[in-house]
């Protein structure tokens, strides 16, 4: 992990409270969830959409997929993929946890296509469970690097609905549960203003200015009245994180062709 990823992962992990249930995507969301569980929320239950309840990945052996032997480590229960999402629909999952390709001021997320849907400029991997997670979990955390090409005025395609056009639009569309609660980036922590449901800067990452956040965002940002400052990752957090990802403390780069080391 590079320094930006570490910053985001640690900030995201701090949002997860103990005794809760988190539906985590593979990659940074799973790493942040596992860090939280190993550090300050030992009774956090981690769910993977492959049908795995209570995963506890081994340090240095993080899974690349939601359904593989490494993802099943320490699980208390296996169930069907459909069933996992139905548990979310029932309301058992406190947090969803997603990455993005594009996100707009209302937290709508695109991971499907850049350009026109039937003949796109870039065909991205698709929703997977992202649409379901943000539609069904009690709240959803979003994590992404902060770049203008990602923070866009209008996403090309709403893969995973945030607050749609803002205000009550989400609920009026029938999305009566949850929604994005926070966006964690390498520059800031953002939330959504309660009435307009527009994205709002809640806190800044260490040594980042509000102007830098604005410059990295492709739309106008609201700013919270009490703009806060995020504490830097602690030495403990970084050490635990690097143990988890299998990197030594002095961070030698991986040498394999695959970015996945097995």
């Amino acid at each position: 992990m590079n320094a930006k990823d570490e910053l985001m992962t640690v900030a995201a992990s701090r949002l997860l409270r103990d005794d809760r249930v988190v539906f985590a995507g593979i990659g940074l969301p799973l790493v942040a969830s596992t860090l939280a569980k190993r550090h300050r929320a030992p009774n956090l239950t981690i769910i993977l959409e492959g049908g795995i309840i209570g995963t506890t990945p081994h340090p240095g052996m993080l899974p690349s997929s939601t359904n593989e032997l490494r993802a099943a480590a320490g699980a208390a229960m296996f169930t069907g993929i459909t069933d996992i999402f139905l548990l979310a629909q029932r309301g058992f999952f406190d947090y969803g946890f997603l990455g993005v390709a594009q996100i707009d001021p209302y937290g709508n997320i695109n991971t499907s296509v850049i350009g026109e849907p039937t003949r796109p400029t870039v065909r991205l991997p698709g929703s997977g469970g992202a649409n379901d997670i943000i539609s069904l979990c009690n709240e959803t955390l979003v994590v992404t690097t902060h770049e203008p090409r990602r923070f866009v005025e209008r996403v090309d395609f709403v893969t995973s609905p945030g607050y749609l056009t803002g205000g009550a639009a989400r609920v009026e569309a029938g999305l009566v549960y949850g929604g994005p609660s926070h966006v964690v980036t390498d520059l800031a922590l953002l939330d959504f203003e309660p009435t307009s449901k527009r994205m709002r800067v809640r806190a800044l990452q260490p040594d980042v200015t509000l102007d830098e956040v604005r410059t990295a965002t492709g739309f106008d940002l609201l700013v919270h009245d009490e703009l806060a400052q995020l504490p830097a990752p602690s030495a403990t957090e970084l050490a635990m994180l690097r143990e988890l990802t299998g990197e030594s403390a002095d961070r030698e780069p991986a040498t394999q062709v695959s970015t996945v080391s097995r």
Partner: protein, 319 residues
């Protein structure tokens, strides 16, 4: 209001007009794949790189069908082999890729961005609801998922209102594929099948589909199946053919049996970066066309490597 023939009704009518005798259904992969016809919608069992029915898919690539549609909860590079060789032109799924760290599926991108293939994108639960409705024998199921999104706008979904509460929901239509290919841990000769580990969507897929081909790591006696009926997830009366193929999901994983061969996947991805769509054809030539059957592919991989993947899987099992 009825427009096209109802998939769930025609799928049921086919079942009603067919008897699946309780006989020995063991056949070779080559024979089993006679059940797959050009133009078919194939439900591919497993998800991403778990329990992919690779031996059966390789056999289709060997026999060369055309105009195929492939559906799957999460798709991996197997779909690129069909798109890249031109055998399939449609993929119905929630996601195509390999996994964290492997990057985008370049052949899929190429085919979709050039209009050679269609990616019909549902949410993951959307795919689940489609197979489950098909398995339950109902033409639709209601869900909150996909509401308000462009996924709903670009697929055959419809609003539905709960007659009791007024809640707005989205109706997801049943999917009843022409044929399902499912890889299981063990089955008897009649098709009673058991899966270990995460069950994914295979059982629903099998029940929803009009024809069902199983590949199994191991064929066991019916007595052994009866010793643990709680592990059986597909009943014999839902199955047309059973193929015994140890390592039948290789180079993908099979829970408890072998881990995914990530080096093999790395090689494929490297080739795609170097030669683009041609890499799919080269892969099929090298790993499928060169061999008479799947055992030739496995021999090429080599018993030492197979054994190593088996040991890694065993190490990862709970104990």
């Amino acid at each position: 209001m009825m427009t096209a023939p109802s998939p769930i009704r025609t799928a049921r009518a086919e079942l009603e007009s067919t008897v699946r005798p309780v006989t020995d259904k063991r056949v070779s992969a080559a024979e089993a794949i006679e059940l797959v016809r050009s133009g078919d919608h194939i439900a591919v069992g497993g998800t991403n790189y778990a329990r992919t029915p690779m031996a059966l898919l390789f056999e289709i690539l060997r026999q060369e069908r055309t105009g195929l549609t492939l559906s799957r909860p999460l798709s991996c590079y197997e779909v690129e082999l069909f798109l890249g060789t031109g055998m399939a032109d449609t993929v119905v799924t929630s996601w195509v890729g390999i996994g964290h760290g492997w990057g985008l599926a370049r052949i899929l991108r190429h085919c979709v961005e050039n209009g050679q293939a269609r990616f019909e994108e549902w949410s993951h639960l959307g795919m689940g609801m489609r197979y489950q409705a098909g398995a339950m024998g109902v033409p639709f199921l209601p869900t909150v998922s996909m509401l308000g999104s462009d996924l709903a706008n670009n697929t055959e979904t419809a609003p539905v209102v709960c007659p009791f509460t007024g809640q707005r929901l989205l109706a997801i239509p049943s999917l009843n594929p022409d044929v399902a290919l499912i890889h299981v841990h063990r089955a008897d000769q009649y098709g009673n099948a058991q899966i270990d580990g995460y069950p994914l969507m295979d059982a629903e897929m099998a029940r929803a589909s009009r024809r069902v081909v199983l590949s199994a790591e191991e064929i066991v006696t019916t007595e052994e199946i009866r010793r643990d009926p709680g592990s059986t997830v597909i009943p014999h009366f839902a199955v047309d053919a059973v193929v015994e193929v140890p390592y039948g999901a290789y180079p993908h994983e099979c829970y408890g049996k072998y881990e995914v061969d990530s080096e093999h996947v790395d090689e494929y991805m490297r080739a795609v970066r170097e030669t683009g769509v041609a890499a799919a054809r080269e892969y099929v030539e090298r790993h499928v066309g060169k061999h008479a059957d799947f055992s030739g592919f496995l021999a090429d991989i080599g018993s030492e490597r197979l054994r190593a993947q088996q040991l890694r899987a065993q190490e990862l099992m709970p104990r």
